[in-house]
Symmetry: C2
Subunit: 598 residues, 2 copies
C-alpha cells in the first residue's frame, strides 16, 4: 500500500528560511500577529488530516468511482467520501484562509497553499470537492452583491455547501465565446437558465445539502462572442431569504464522464432547464468575474500536480531502497543480500531526483505565488500591491503548465522505478499518473497557458513584468556572483537570464510580423521560463542551505538540499538549450505542412 508523510520540514524551510514569510506577512495589517509556530501547528494538524482521513480513501475511491442514479439524478461518491467531508467541515478546514467577516479563519493564503498541497498528495479526486468551492468563494467574494455574499458566503466558508464552475459546453471548452446556455431575465430580477454544460468537476454529490453552481450563460440581447457572457449563481436547491433550503432547482446531473483518472470526483454533465439564478457582477462581464475563479483554479491545478509529484517521489524512494535487483555497476554494495537495492543504480537515482527536484522547486514557487496573493490583497503600499498582482499574473500560467507537465514527467518516472509493479494497481503508482494527466488539460490546456504567458503576460506589456521578476534574479546574482560555492548555480542562471532577454525580444519581433510565430514558440518558451523561475528558486534554496552549512549546522537536510540543487542544474535545467533552439526554428516547419497533414 502507498505511504505518505507530509513534507513539513521542507515546507518550513521554504516558508521560514528561504522566503521568511512571517516577516513579510507581519507587514500586512490583517496578519500583523502571525507567527511561525501558528503556521507550523496548523500545517501539522492539516497533514494529519490528509494522512488519516483522505489518503486511505484514495485507492478505494479510484476503484469505486462515482455512481449516478438516473432516475433521481443524484450522485453517490465513493464510500467514505461523505464522512471525510463531514470531518473536514467539522475541523474548520474549509474556512482556513477565508474572510472572518463570513466566518473564515483569516489565515494567510500561504497556509492554505501548503494545506492543499498535502490534501492533493493524499487524494486529488476528493480534494477537488472543497477545492472547487474555494474558487466559487473567491469569485462571489470579489463580484457578488452584498445580498449574495450574505446569503451564500457563510455556507461556502463553513463548507456546509460546495460550489462548482460551469463553463464548458460540448462544443466549446477553450473558446467560451461560442457558449450557448441562455439566461432569460424574469420580472423578479432573477434569471431562468437553460442549456447543457459538460466536464463539471464535483458537479453533483450527496456530501452537502446544497451545491452552488457558478454558471456562464448569455442574456437574450447579448453581443456575440466572449463579450456577451454573463455569470450567474444557480443553486441546486433554491435558497430562501433566511438562508434555509427551498425547492429543487432546474439544474441536475445528466450523466457522469468515464475518465482516465480522478474517478473519485464526479465529472458531471449538467443540464439546466429553467434553472433559477441570480447574476454575479455586471451583464456581459461574466468572463472577467469568472477569471477571478479561474486564476485561483490555475494555481490550484499546479498545486494538484505538486502534491502528486511529492507523493509519487516518497513512494518511489521507499521502493528503491527496499527492492533488491542486480548489483551496482561500480561494485557490490549490499554484501549481505543476494542483490543491491535498486537505489544504487544511477538511472534509478535520476528518476527519483527528477521528482524530488520538481517537487521542491514547485513548492518554493507555489508558496512564493501565494505570498504574493497575500501581499496583493493587504500590503499597505499600493505599488507593492500592484507589483505583487502583476508578478503573480505572470507566474500563474507557469505554475499551471510547468508544474503539471513536471508532474507528468515525475509521476511517470516514479512509476517506472517500480518496473512492472508500477503498472499494476496495488502499488498506487499508475493512479498518480492517471490522476495527474487531467491537470495538463483542465482550467485551460497547457498550450493555452503558454499563449497566455508569452502573448499576453510578456509580449502584451513588452516584457515589463518579466523585467520585474528579472530584477529579483539580478539581485541574487549581484549578491552571490563572487561566491565560489554558489557558482555552479549562479552561472547557468545568469546565462539563461541573459539569453532570455534576447530570446524574448526576438520572439516579439517575429510575432509582430507573423502572430503564428508566437503560437509556434509559446510552449517551448513557457518551459524555458519555468526553468528560469525554478533556477532562481533552486539557487535561493542552495544559498540558504550553504549558509547553514557554513555556519556549522550539522542537519543533513541542508546538504541534501545542495545535492538536489546540483542535480537540478546538471540534469534538468539544460533542457533549455534544446527548447530555445526549437523555439527559434520558427513556425514554418509547423505551418507549411498542409501536404503532410492532408
Amino acid at each position: 500500500m502507498p505511504q505518505y508523510n507530509p513534507p513539513l520540514r521542507d515546507m518550513q524551510f521554504v516558508l521560514h528560511e528561504v522566503l521568511k514569510v512571517t516577516d513579510e506577512l507581519r507587514g500586512l495589517p490583517p496578519h500583523a500577529d502571525i507567527d511561525a509556530d501558528t503556521i507550523n501547528a496548523v500545517l501539522e494538524e492539516g497533514g494529519k488530516f490528509a494522512v488519516e482521513v483522505t489518503f486511505p480513501l484514495n485507492i478505494s475511491g479510484d476503484e469505486e468511482g462515482c455512481t449516478l442514479d438516473k432516475t433521481t439524478h443524484e450522485v453517490t461518491p465513493p464510500k467514505g467520501f461523505k464522512q471525510a467531508y463531514a470531518q473536514f467541515v467539522e475541523g474548520g478546514w474549509a474556512a482556513l484562509s477565508c474572510d472572518p467577516e463570513y466566518g473564515g479563519q483569516g489565515l494567510p493564503f500561504v497556509v492554505n497553499q501548503c494545506f492543499y498541497e498535502m490534501m492533493n498528495s493524499a487524494n486529488q479526486a476528493w480534494t477537488m470537492y472543497p477545492g472547487l468551492s474555494h474558487g466559487a468563494y473567491e469569485a462571489l467574494h470579489a463580484h457578488g452583491t452584498d445580498a449574495q455574499k450574505k446569503l451564500y458566503l457563510p455556507k461556502l466558508v463553513s463548507g456546509e455547501w460546495t460550489g462548482t464552475m460551469c463553463l464548458t459546453e460540448p462544443h466549446c471548452g477553450t473558446d467560451l465565446g461560442m457558449l450557448r446556455t441562455k439566461a432569460e431575465p424574469q420580472a423578479d430580477g432573477t434569471f431562468k437558465l437553460t442549456g447543457n454544460k459538460i466536464f463539471i468537476s464535483a458537479g453533483e454529490h450527496d456530501m452537502t445539502s446544497n451545491i452552488l453552481h457558478l454558471v456562464l450563460a448569455r442574456l437574450p440581447d447579448a453581443p456575440q462572442g466572449s463579450k456577451g457572457i454573463s455569470l450567474f449563481i444557480v443553486p441546486k436547491f433554491n435558497v430562501n431569504e433566511d438562508g434555509s433550503i427551498g425547492s429543487r432547482n432546474g439544474i441536475y446531473c445528466g450523466g457522469l464522464e468515464h475518465k482516465m483518472g480522478i474517478h473519485g470526483n464526479a465529472t458531471a454533465q449538467i443540464v439546466l432547464e429553467d434553472a433559477v439564478g441570480t447574476m454575479v457582477g455586471a451583464p456581459n462581464k461574466g468572463l472577467a468575474a469568472m477569471f477571478v475563479m479561474m486564476n485561483a483554479a490555475r494555481l490550484g491545478v499546479g498545486n494538484q500536480s505538486l502534491g502528486l509529484t511529492e507523493v509519487a517521489y516518497q513512494n518511489a524512494l521507499a521502493y528503491a531502497k527496499d527492492r533488491i535487483q542486480m548489483r551496482s555497476l561500480s561494485g557490490v554494495k549490499a554484501k549481505d543480500k543476494p542483490a543491491d537495492p535498486i537505489i544504487v543504480h544511477p538511472d534509478v537515482r535520476k528518476m527519483l531526483l527528477t521528482a524530488k527536484a520538481y517537487a521542491e522547486g514547485g513548492r518554493a514557487l507555489a508558496i512564493y505565488c501565494t505570498l504574493l496573493l497575500d501581499k496583493e490583497l493587504y500590503h499597505p503600499d499600493e505599488k507593492v500591491r500592484k507589483d505583487s498582482g502583476e508578478i503573480v499574473a505572470l507566474l500563474t500560467p507557469i505554475v499551471k503548465a510547468f508544474l503539471t507537465d513536471n508532474g507528468h514527467i515525475a509521476t511517470n518516472a516514479c512509476m517506472q522505478v517500480f518496473g512492472g509493479h508500477g503498472y499494476v494497481k496495488e502499488w498506487g503508482m499508475e493512479q498518480l499518473v492517471r490522476d495527474n494527466r487531467i491537470n495538463m488539460i483542465y482550467e485551460g490546456t497547457n498550450t493555452i497557458q503558454s499563449l497566455d504567458l508569452l502573448g499576453r503576460k510578456i509580449l502584451g506589456n513588452n516584457g515589463a513584468t518579466l523585467k520585474k521578476f528579472g530584477k529579483l534574479i539580478g539581485a541574487l546574482i549581484a549578491e552571490e556572483g563572487v561566491n565560489e560555492k554558489m557558482a555552479e548555480f549562479i552561472n547557468p542562471l545568469a546565462y539563461l537570464a541573459d539569453q532570455m532577454t534576447k530570446f524574448t525580444t526576438e520572439l516579439g519581433f517575429k510575432g509582430f510580423q507573423n502572430p503564428d510565430e508566437v503560437g509556434a514558440a509559446a510552449v517551448d518558451y513557457l518551459r524555458v521560463a519555468g526553468h528560469l523561475v525554478f533556477g532562481y528558486f533552486w539557487a535561493r534554496m542552495a544559498q540558504t542551505a550553504l549558509r547553514e552549512i557554513a555556519a556549522g549546522n550539522p542537519d543533513p537536510f541542508y546538504l541534501g538540499k545542495v545535492q538536489t540543487a546540483r542535480f537540478y542544474f546538471a540534469k534538468l535545467f539544460p533542457e533549455t538549450a534544446t527548447l530555445m533552439r526549437t523555439a527559434r526554428s520558427g513556425s514554418r516547419a509547423l505551418m507549411d505542412t498542409d501536404a503532410a497533414l492532408a
Copy 2:
C-alpha cells in the same frame, strides 16, 4: 468512436521505394520469387483483418477486461476475443512468416512486421495473444529438439495453440539470476517444475485448446545466479506422443493483475505445482535460449508502440480537422464557421507532427530491422549474415526503448489534441496512453535497454558495430553532401554523426574509470542514438521523396514526406543538444546524493 486506416501507402513507400526490399529479398534463396504485389496484397488483407476483426474489440476489451474463475483457474478474455482468434487461425495469419517445414507460409519477416504493426494499432491487448506465441515459436525453432519441434511447432504455426514466456517472479524481474522456480529431473527424462511466476502476458485463456508455457527454472544442482537457469516447455495440458491432448498439467493461473492498461490481455500469476516439462536447449543455458525469444519480443514491443503511435495520430488528425475552437492567430481561416478548426493552431500541428514523424521514422527503422533478420537468416554470404545480425542486435534496444518512449510522447500529445475529450474514455485516446505505458517497462525496462545498448552493444566491442551503422550514414552523406535541397537534412545528421564518435569515446574512457558513468549516461545516450538512426532514415525518406518531386511526380504524398522530415529535423532532432549535455554532466550529480535521498 475511434477510427483506423491501415497506412498501406506509407508501408509501400518504405518497403519498395526507400528500402527496395524485394531486390534485397530476392537475393535470399527462400524468397527468390517474392514480388511487391504479393507483399502488398497480403498487407491489404492483413489491414482488413485488423480493421474488421480486432479493432472493433479494442474499447470493449479495455472496458470488460479478463475474468478468472478461481475454482477452475480458467480465464475468460473479453467478449469476441475468442471468435476473433478463431478467424485469425482460419485466415492463416499465425503462420505468415513461419517455417514451411512446420506448416508456415514462409513469407519474409518484413511482411509479418507490417502485419503486426496494423494489428497493434487495432488492438494491442488482443494482439499479444498470438504475439507471444510467435516468440515461443522462435525459441523452440532455434533451440528445441527434433521431437519437441515435431510435437509443438505445427500447433504454434497454425495458431491452434498459443505460447507464453514465464520469466518473472515476485522478487525478480530484471535480475533473473535470482529466480527460484525449481525443476526436478524425473526418471523418464522429463522434469517436475514448482514455483511462482508473475506478469505472464496471455498466461491463461480459453481461446485455444492448449497453451505452451516456456518456463525458466533451476535444476537442483544448478550454479547460483544467471548461469544456473534452464529453459523448459510446460504445456497447460500434457501432450501425448501422437500430438493429442492428455491430462491437465500442474500449471495454472493463480490470479490476474489489475493493470493500468492492456486490460484485454490476461496478465497472469502462474503457479507451478509438480508441472511436467521437458528441457529446451542445454542445462543451465536457459537464458541464452530464452534470449532468442526476448530479442524477438523486444522488437515486437517497439512495434506495439509504433502501432499505437500511428492510430493515435490518425484520430488526433481527424479530430483537429473537425473540431472548431478559437480563431487562427494569423487571421480567420474558416470564414463560414464560428471558429477555425484547431489544426490552424501551431501547437496543435506540433503535437500532430510529433506523432507522425515518430510513427513514420519508427516504421522505417522497424522494417529495416526485420529486413536484417531476413538477411541474417538466409543471405548466401556469411559476412552479410553476420553483419546483419550484429546491426539488428545494435538496433534492438533502440527499437524497444526509443519507439516506446516516443509512443509515450506521441500518444500523450495526440490525447492532448482532444483537450478534455481526450481524458474521457469514449474517444479511445486515453486508452492508447495507458496501453502504451507498459511497453516502456516489459521485456526489459527502457533503462535496461539503454545499458544493453551503451554497455554491451557499443562499448562492449569498442564501437565496432556502431561504426558499421556509421558507414551507412557516411555513404548517404557522401551521396547527398553537395545536394542543396538535402542540406537541411544532411547537415544536422552529419554534425550529430561526428559528435557521436567523440561522445562515445568520451563515455568509454569515463566508464573505464568508473562504471557508474555508463549507467548515468546510458538513457540519454540511447535517445541520442535513436535520433541518429531516425535522422538517417528521415534523410533517406526525404531523399526518395525529393527525387520523385524532381522527376515531376505530382503525388502530394512526397511533398508531405519532405515537410514531415523538415519538421522532424527542426523540432524533434535538436533534443540531442540537451541530451549530450546532460549525459556529459556525469554521474556525480546522481551518485553523490545520499543526503538528498535519505
